[in-house]
């Protein structure tokens, strides 16, 4: 994979419990953004075990706007593999 190939790069949003992650997935699905629930490694978040969502990095601005509008609280955004 080319380092600048953002079309296939995957980004993550750390959310906490699975219900928050599923709420985010549903909100994104409603505006046509694909995202999936992922378990975050304990070292990926400040609080230990948590769930998040993963999506195409190209969607990140829309993801941020959609989750903000849906009042889904995101503790951090990061690119997969970069914490």
């Amino acid at each position: 994979m080319h380092i600048t190939d953002f079309s296939s790069a995957r980004c993550r949003a750390a959310l906490g419990p699975t219900s928050a992650a599923l709420r985010a997935v549903r909100a994104l699905q409603a505006v046509g953004i694909n995202a999936e629930v992922v378990a975050l490694a304990p070292n990926e978040t400040k609080r230990g075990c948590a769930f998040g969502i993963e999506f195409a990095c190209t969607d990140e601005p829309r993801v941020r706007a959609t989750l903000r509008a849906a009042r889904v609280s995101v503790s951090q955004y990061f690119k997969r593999g970069n914490t």
């Binding site: 906490g16 419990p17 219900s19 709420r23 549903r26 629930v37 378990a39 609080r47 075990c49 769930f51």
Partner: protein, 374 residues
């Protein structure tokens, strides 16, 4: 068997419920929120779908404020004990089930709260509100009441009491154990802060789960601590709902049953269901009152539950005779001695008939034939 004990638990369950439970056991009974493998995520997705359906059902916009519990009793205990503080005064109605009455009395015995009841039986909405208003003190923090009695079909003016609570800054905790599936519930419109529901009664699920639906103003403290699948380094439960109040593994087959029950309710016309149950009530009332040895209690409150008594035989004896003839009813005090006292049924209580969509007037014919013989 003729089953008129649907207020205890509905029976038989719709096939949609059986299918949903089997589907869970066979296809998605992983542990939600405890891993990211396919089965765990599938389980989490189905549980969240159930939260969504239930939130819609009770008029709550945020599905994460649906907390799954062991039942309505557990939900009421969380709402009551997780909300009230030392020195609080609480009001409840005279029709409360022990699921409300006992947690309140436990706190009262510990010297933490004071409790007053307000009358309901035979009163208009306006009069009930007046009775509530005149009992409110400076220290009153919450009103806890049922939407519909579990021993008769008397209902409380929930929307009006909710609006009163909101205006006075009180929390409003509602026991919907008997009303869910029978009466409309809109938490936001009715200003309900906490609503307790069982899965296995009017929502047609199976025993083993219930829910506490929480409005935006209320965040009870947990009564149970344990694993939540998240925030593991912290020594306390997470702040986020629903996980904050869901320590331990969820009862997935029962949640699946609830999902099936909600799907079943979506497939039928709620007005037709209510009309069917009311029709059975009216037919049963007319025919029981046609027998001189019986009296129908709270006869004017038409709904899915009818309470009656024999003028000479005990309620238990009547129920035993019916059982011997293949008819299931419930006799006695129905875990609601306060309500029986309010309805003046005496020490014996009464005989309760409770209907579901499956009951018919033909079944009433059999019931009346046996009652006539007693």
């Amino acid at each position: 068997m003729i089953y008129f004990d649907n207020a205890a638990t509905t029976f038989p369950k719709p096939t949609a419920v059986r299918d949903a439970v089997l589907d869970c056991i066979e296809n998605w009974c992983g542990n939600p929120g405890r891993g990211a493998h396919t089965l765990s995520l599938k389980a989490a997705d189905r549980v969240y779908t159930c939260r969504e359906k239930l939130a819609l059902f009770v008029g709550l916009s945020d599905p994460t404020r649906i907390v799954f519990t062991g039942g309505a009793t557990a939900a009421l205990n969380i709402a009551i004990k997780g909300t009230l503080r030392a020195g609080d005064h609480v009001l409840c109605s005279e029709l409360e089930h022990n699921a409300v009455w006992r947690p309140l009395q436990a706190l009262r015995r510990e010297g933490r709260i004071t409790v007053d009841t307000f009358p309901v039986v035979g009163l208009s909405k306006e009069k009930i509100l007046q009775e509530v208003a005149k009992r409110v003190k400076k220290s009153t923090r919450a009103i806890v009441c049922t939407q519909m009695s579990n021993i008769c079909s008397v209902t409380l003016p929930i929307a009006e009491i909710g609006a009163f609570c909101r205006a006075k800054g009180l929390f409003f905790i509602v026991d919907a154990a008997q009303s869910a599936g029978h009466l409309p519930i809109d938490m936001e419109a009715m200003c309900i802060d906490a609503l307790a529901l069982p899965a296995h009664k009017g929502l047609y699920g199976i025993p083993g789960c219930g829910a506490l639906a929480l409005g935006k103003r209320l965040l009870p403290k947990p009564l149970l601590e344990g694993g939540s699948g998240v925030n593991s380094r912290a020594a306390q439960m997470p702040d986020e709902l629903p996980e904050r109040l869901e320590a331990g593994t969820l009862p997935l087959p029962a949640i699946a049953g609830l999902l099936g029950g909600l799907s079943f309710l979506e497939s039928i016309d709620p007005c037709a269901l209510q009309s069917h149950e009311n029709g059975l009530f009216l037919a049963a009332r007319e025919r029981i009152e046609g027998l001189p040895q019986y009296e129908v209690i709270a006869r004017d409150a038409v709904g899915p539950v009818l309470l009656f008594r024999h003028t000479r035989a005990s309620a238990v004896a009547v129920a035993r005779k019916l059982s011997e003839n293949g008819i299931a009813v419930r006799a006695g005090l129905h875990c609601a001695p306060l309500a029986h006292q309010a309805l003046r049924t005496g020490t014996e209580g009464g005989v309760r008939l409770s209907f579901s969509y499956r009951n018919s007037e033909t079944e009433l014919d059999t019931l009346l034939r046996i009652l006539h013989e007693i």
